[in-house]
């Protein structure tokens, strides 16, 4: 077997040194009758050549319709952006790809400095003081933020706004529920969000909103932040399209206390939804309540600058049941990809990319709004907007897919909006990035025209 370097002779010699008659003898602690040979696993196949494995996996890959195979307008928390070739090349370097968590900082400065740069980028993007070295993804980061707010405020309720991604709503509700925290889900609605502040009471730890919202709406959160703070609660802002931060005012500048986000847009492919990279940033004063890994600057024995994992007394491997979270593994490699892509973009590139997405989405919205029978729901948006098709959207999406066009998301079918599904059923959420061409938009517009006139 190509991955196993020991030869039969090696094994014999090693057993001799150990003083054991066979490898099976090393398993003498296994209860009698429970030690099996390979034949006990008949439902799975014997080993195969690299060629054969590649063929079988390629057959699976071909059995899906890749995003790039035609017009594509699906967003909803994961965005198809152009990632420069250098990014994937760099994260595939052995020294990044096959390193462990940097527990030995002297020989892990590459990973550590990259994480330090990541933390800085996330803090700058979100307008916050500090960021951690990544969580699993945006949805679990949102749940962690809710739990952190509960720890900080010592209150036990979290309000989730209607602008929040349905899956995030579901994850927050589930995880906080098991932790014994009350979750108040405001109705999922593309536009109305004025009631959120009204839901805050003396027992409310935090309000979670998303900006741009799941349906695309961009909001000024300043007044909401003031209202939430006035009641002693925290404002948690989720950002699922990190590119928007190059154009939209940062949550920090609008008064957020914790910003969580999905960083996939920078450096990471769609990858069927994972792995991605969870962003988590907050104010300095909340630092020690923050979950997740942190990389900090220090000096070595010769006085040279270096980086280490730090403040690990918050973490489970030290604090066990008193930890701020059970998080151990983070999204190191995806965070590296994020950092490399954002380093290539820089201030100029990010601003340009955000402006380009916004402009292309604006043009697409204008074109699609001209399709008879549908209307544009949003009065503001970044690169994603909602159309009201005047009829149930899910079947339209299916029919367009059969024509080779992935038109967007029918939100009514998602987890997390069960209570509001009826009100959402005619809606279609459409994302437009720099990878969408005018021809793509035209194809969608004419297909929609046909479908809606049928």
């Amino acid at each position: 077997m190509r991955y196993l370097p020991l030869t039969g002779e090696d094994r014999a010699e090693m057993l001799r040194v150990i003083g054991a008659p066979s490898i099976d003898a090393l398993y003498s602690d296994v209860p009698a009758g429970l030690l099996h040979g390979p034949e006990a696993f008949q439902a799975v196949a014997p080993g195969k050549s690299e060629l054969q494995v590649e063929r079988e996996m390629a057959a699976y890959a071909r059995a899906s319709r890749a995003a790039g195979d035609g017009p594509f307008f699906v967003g909803g928390g994961l965005y198809r952006h152009h990632v420069p070739a250098a990014v994937d090349h760099l994260i595939q370097r052995s020294e990044f790809l096959t390193a462990y968590t940097p527990y030995q900082p002297e020989i892990a400065q590459g990973t550590l400095q990259t994480l330090f740069e990541f933390q800085t980028q996330v803090a700058l993007l979100t307008g916050m003081d500090v960021a951690n070295a990544s969580l699993y993804d945006g949805s679990t980061a949102a749940a962690e933020a809710g739990m952190m707010a509960v720890r900080i405020t010592r209150r036990n309720k979290v309000v989730v706004a209607g602008s929040v991604h349905p899956h995030y709503r579901a994850v927050v509700q589930n995880q906080l529920g098991f932790a014994g925290i009350e979750v108040d889900l405001a109705p999922a609605d593309p536009m109305a969000e004025d009631d959120v502040a009204a839901r805050v009471d003396a027992g409310t730890a935090a309000v979670i909103v998303q900006n741009p919202g799941f349906f695309g709406q961009v909001r000024d959160l300043t007044a909401l932040a003031q209202a939430v703070h006035a009641k002693g609660a925290l404002l948690i802002v989720a950002v699922t399209e990190a590119v928007s931060l190059g154009a939209v005012e940062s949550p920090g500048a609008m008064g957020a206390d914790i910003v969580v986000g999905e960083g996939q847009s920078f450096g990471n492919a769609l990858t069927f939804g994972g792995p991605t990279v969870g962003l988590f940033a907050t104010r300095s004063k909340f630092l020690r309540q923050m979950p997740g890994r942190l990389c900090g600057e220090t000096v070595d024995a010769d006085g040279r600058r270096g980086f280490v994992l730090t403040l690990s007394t918050r973490e489970q491997h030290i604090r066990r049941d008193k930890a701020t979270s059970n998080i151990c593994t983070s999204a190191g490699l995806c965070a590296s990809a994020f950092t490399i892509h954002l380093a290539m973009l820089g201030e100029r590139g990010l601003t340009h990319l955000a402006a380009l997405n916004h402009a292309l989405a604006g043009r697409a919205a204008d074109r699609l709004a001209a399709v008879p029978g549908l209307s544009l729901v949003n009065d503001t948006f970044f690169n994603e907007f909602t159309l009201d098709l005047g009829r149930p959207a899910a079947p339209v999406v299916e029919r367009l897919a059969a024509r080779g066009i992935l038109a967007g998301i029918a939100p009514a079918v998602l987890d997390g909006v069960e209570a509001d599904a009826a009100a959402l059923q005619n809606l279609l959420v459409v994302a437009v990035t720099e990878l969408v061409t005018d021809e793509d938009v035209e194809a969608l517009a004419s297909a929609l025209t046909e479908e809606l006139s049928a």
Binding site: A59, A99, L115, G346, A359
Partner: protein, 488 residues
């Protein structure tokens, strides 16, 4: 050459990407526009590439040498898996596409699930958890849901003191209180103490087997019976499944559910700290509360995504379908080894650990008698009186060209050194490691403590001041002017 931060290398006027011009359109941001610059540095592409290549060169990796981190399982990461994961049908696929357009991905996940249930002897699987700790949480949620479903609100979870820190942390996150129980002198769970702790309010017992001392819990069946007798569930921490995969079915040991770290047993790369992936398998006893989404194969060969029958006992764990990119890698690995190869791999991993234990015992002090499983544990007894600590000893390994072993874990052993070679090291590589460690041990005993205190000397950095880092946390770069202002 030192490599500055990217923030120290930026100069306005450069660009690292070229983009199409922005067409003229009216803004739809409603005036909610960013007012201040983000503050990102501008670099050109060659500078960015060089920066990260240079940074990478300061890292040790499994491709550069043996990485004997016990409990972390740093095995070879096949490049085939990386190639497969990048096929457009996997990498360029959106989870919210219509189900008719993602049949390949669902089929791949379904096959992965089949492998995991067959290898563990379990009935049901959820692929959603993003990492091992997340899998623990998912498993405990299912256990709690099962108790709740039968109207039995238990609040206590029992965890051995040698367990990974994630075990108690996950239990607390799931709303449980945690009771720790001690181990025996031979590095295993104290069955008597466990039995004494059991009671009708115990929801679950969590056990890692092989445990973190690298030993097989030989009383596992007895424990399982005792757990089940009080109506509790038996949770398996599958972090060390790589020692027994293809040989032992955890379901037959009595576990009701178990999470699996795909990177430890199935070779997905660790990437400097993630991403992970922590699928959980469930026995018949918990299959009814296993979290979704579940992939089902229809009679016509197509795949559907199924909500949990009878409503979501456990709700959504994570947006979308889990760490799909890790699934492709793990499945490619499983198909490559097959049932025979997995059997051989676990055997070689255990053989290698026992070989190290046998040879290293010449100078070092094993914490417990063997046979070991996939890792071997030493205490710092052999360093007594030398002035050399476990930390010093580990750092000295760096200068010998090796990554140190796991230090000071498990906590139950004084100055623990936990060594896991894995099955992908050659005998030559193992012998090199042994020779280096024996020589270091002899030098420590010969009174060369000073040299150990000064190690590492030949790494990109010498020992780093972790206390300073924690006392005065500097967690991001700040522009020099701001930093000065803040300091004043």
């Amino acid at each position: 050459l030192e490599e500055p931060l990217i923030f120290e290398q930026g100069t306005p006027g450069r660009i690292g990407v070229d983009l199409a011009p922005v067409p003229e359109t009216k803004s739809r941001l409603g005036g909610v526009v960013r007012k201040a610059p983000v503050g990102l540095p501008d670099l050109a592409e060659p500078q960015v590439v060089r920066h990260f290549v240079r940074l990478s060169q300061k890292n040790y990796s499994i491709d550069s040498g043996l990485f004997p981190l016990g409990s972390c399982t740093m095995k070879y990461n096949p490049r085939l898996n990386e190639k497969v994961a990048r096929m457009p049908g996997f990498a360029d696929l959106h989870p919210l596409q219509p189900v008719s357009t993602i049949q390949g991905a669902l089929g791949m996940m379904h096959e992965l699930g089949t492998w995991l249930t067959e290898l563990t002897g379990m009935t049901e699987v959820t692929l959603a958890p993003a990492a091992g700790a997340h899998g623990e949480l998912a498993g405990l949620m299912a256990i709690r849901a099962a108790h709740v479903a039968r109207g039995d609100a238990r609040r206590r979870v029992i965890v051995p003191d040698s367990a990974h820190g994630t075990n108690p942390a996950s239990a607390v996150l799931c709303g449980y209180t945690v009771q720790s129980i001690p181990g025996t002198d031979d590095g295993r769970v104290d069955v008597a103490a466990l039995k004494a702790a059991l009671g009708p309010d115990v929801a679950a017992v969590m056990l890692t087997n092989p445990n973190t001392c690298g030993l097989f819990e030989r009383d596992v069946k007895v424990i399982a019976d005792a757990v089940h007798e009080v109506g509790a569930y038996f949770y398996g921490d599958g972090a060390n499944f790589n020692a027994i995969v293809g040989r032992v079915k955890p379901a037959e040991l009595g576990f009701d559910c178990m999470h699996i770290n795909l990177h430890k047993t199935f070779s997905t790369p660790h990437g400097g700290g993630g991403p992970g992936s922590g699928p959980v398998v469930f026995a018949e006893s918990l299959a009814h509360v296993a979290p979704g989404p579940r992939i089902r194969r229809q009679d016509d060969g197509s795949y559907t995504v199924e909500a949990v029958p009878g409503g979501p006992a456990v709700g959504r764990l994570k947006a979308f379908f889990g760490q799909a990119g890790m699934f492709t890698r793990a499945l490619a690995y499983m198909k490559s080894l097959g049932r025979d190869g997995l059997h051989a791999a676990s055997g070689d991993a255990v053989l290698a650990a026992n070989y190290l234990m046998a040879r290293l015992s010449e100078e070092m002090t094993p914490a417990f008698p063997g046979p070991a499983m996939h890792e071997c544990l030493f205490d710092d007894g052999f360093l007594e009186g030398t002035g050399v600590s476990t930390l010093d000893f580990a750092k000295a390994m760096i200068d010998e060209g090796f990554h140190p072993m796991t230090m000071y874990f498990p906590l139950v052993v004084h100055g623990a050194m936990l060594i896991e070679p894995t099955e992908t090291e050659s005998k030559q590589a193992l012998d090199q490691l042994v020779d280096a460690l024996l020589s270091l041990a002899r030098r420590a005993k010969a009174g060369e403590a000073e040299a150990f205190h000064a190690a590492p000397r030949y790494a990109p950095r010498r020992r780093l001041d972790e206390t300073l880092a924690a006392r005065k946390p500097v967690l991001r770069w700040t522009p020099p002017a701001e930093a000065r202002a803040a300091a004043e």
